[in-house]
């Protein structure tokens, strides 16, 4: 999909913005605190209904104003779609797609992938960030997965409650365990399949963006042991059941479920060394960018529609060679992208749109 027109009113410090972005790369250049991230945030909020920086809608309205509006026109599979998000402090948010009131699960909705400097923590942070990285992709490509994930977390909560209250009826404990396993298996299988797919993407993307020939490996790390080389529904289910049996006593003691997809991890290796503990800052940064780029291609390949790529401060994270290679990659892909940067000295191809951001206003460079 491709944005053709963007209009923003009273969103954060963006009082009035109208631009026609380029089809490929769009650079937003400006000093600190001018409104670059606000611009990406506006697009993100229009697509998802929520921000990545705050949970309070009122933070997003320009100071001294009561309403904001974000309006875009985009191409999707050869058709033009109009999407408008209007917020009023009294009425909340209203999304319209082609002038009809709509929800953020509409099939024609905007799809976006966002990179922020915080994504570094997918590589070097705690396991839950890597699990949600996988879950977020899977939920976007499969409603069924989203349903299993939702069920799993509810059953897990209930089971942990049972484990805490101790005097649980054995029968009930068995039934909840069955339901837990039934919902855990599709999550694990989905993640294992995704990781296999991502590994191929990431391996070649990493080489492309770094210009090196490092070998990237991704492994889904189960929180329990399985005696089969290849995981199948049956083997995962049996192994998880056995692990839960073995852990029964310590689970009772600790009052919580100790094995399952909520305890699994994703291990990332550069040349056979764990990136979380061994990679350099620059390597970790490059990996984070590549993970997001792989998210783009995954969604495109499964859904058949290329999302829009929003990259905040990605340049600051990379050296000159990697910047150039990343820009080359972005301009050769068929996705539209928006990048913020404080330095203008990045080399861009002719087709790129360049917008200077000053004090909440955008000026297109001729």
């Amino acid at each position: 999909m491709r944005l053709e027109l963007i209009q923003i009113n009273n969103f954060r410090n963006l009082e009035q913005v109208t631009i026609r972005p380029a089809a490929g790369i769009n650079l937003l250049v400006g000093k600190n605190a001018q409104g670059k991230t606000n611009f990406l945030e506006a697009l993100y909020v229009l697509a998802h209904g929520t921000s990545f920086r705050t949970v309070r809608d009122s933070d997003l309205v320009c100071d001294q104003k009561d309403t904001y509006e974000i309006k875009v026109v985009y191409q999707k599979e050869g058709r033009l779609v109009q999407s408008t998000l209007h917020y009023a402090s009294t009425k909340g948010k209203v999304l319209r797609i082609n002038n009809k009131r709509s929800t953020f699960s509409h099939p024609d909705r905007l799809r976006m992938v966002l990179f922020t400097p915080d994504d570094l923590y997918i590589v070097k942070g705690s396991p839950h960030l890597r699990r949600s990285f996988l879950d977020l992709i899977l939920c976007q490509v499969s409603n069924e997965y989203a349903q299993y994930l939702n069920n799993y977390s509810k059953i897990l909560k209930k089971r942990n409650l049972f484990l805490k209250t101790k005097h649980v009826n054995q029968e009930v404990e068995f039934l909840t365990r069955d339901m837990l396993i039934e919902n855990a298996v599709p999550l694990i299988m989905g993640r294992i399949n995704l990781v296999e797919w991502l590994e191929k993407e990431i391996h070649s993307l990493y080489r492309k963006i770094t210009g090196g020939n490092s070998k990237i490996k991704l492994r889904y790390a189960l929180s329990f042991t399985i005696n089969k080389d290849r995981a199948s529904r049956e083997s995962v289910s049996a192994a998880l059941r056995q692990a839960l049996d073995e852990k029964q006593e310590s689970e009772m003691r600790r009052g919580t479920t100790l094995v399952g997809p909520h305890r699994d991890d994703l291990n990332i290796y550069i040349d056979d060394r764990n990136a979380r503990t061994h990679a350099s800052q620059g390597e970790q940064r490059s990996l984070a960018v590549v993970l997001k780029a792989a998210e783009m291609t995954t969604i495109k390949n499964i859904r058949g529609i290329a999302p829009i790529f929003l990259l905040d401060e990605v340049m600051a994270e990379l050296d000159q060679t990697r910047r150039t290679l990343l820009l080359e990659h972005l301009s050769s892909s068929d996705s539209q992208s928006f990048l913020t940067t404080v330095e203008r000295d990045v080399i861009v191809t002719k087709q790129a749109g360049v917008f200077n951001v000053t004090n909440g206003k955008l000026f297109e460079e001729a």
Binding site: N151, K158, T165, E171, V172, L175, M179
Partner: protein, 197 residues
Amino acid sequence: MRLARPLEKLIRELEKLPGIGPKSAQRLALHILRQPAVEVRELARALVEAREKTFPCSRCGNLTEIDPCWICTDPQRDESIICVVEQASDVMAVERANYQGKYYVLNQNPRLMDSGSLEELNLQGLLNFIKGGRVQEIILATNPTIDGELTARYIARVVKSFGVRITRLAHGLPVGGDLEYTDELTLRRALEGRREI
């Protein structure tokens, strides 16, 4: 502004009802005040009577004014099938889907199970039906929520030894929704597509 005290009291009572906010309560109250006194008395009597004269059927748990209820005693209804639901409101939903068998209403919010004591579910009446010897199938129509599913599995385990067929409403139900709000068509399809457990 201060309202006439009786009006204020009426609004406050109406507001306590589920799904009624301050605005609707006010509108309803003013509407009631515009009605002829006989009609209002009729409404008041209906409220009190409904509350005082209905109670759960001693056999199936459905709300009734006679015991056993008319469904339990209706000879036209198929007594070989029993549909187990959570609340009396679920009976109304299943009835609209043209179901012709009998019911067993748990009359319990399965969230009680948060304590982990499913045993508290009152299944004695259901077991009495089964021991009567005419029951061939039990449809577990608890809500398609985690609690509803857990309840259904628990009941299935308890009644399994009696050798009756046990089915669970299968398709078309929105996951996480309430049976009460399911539309008739989906529910009818669900009744047809029930799966054996």
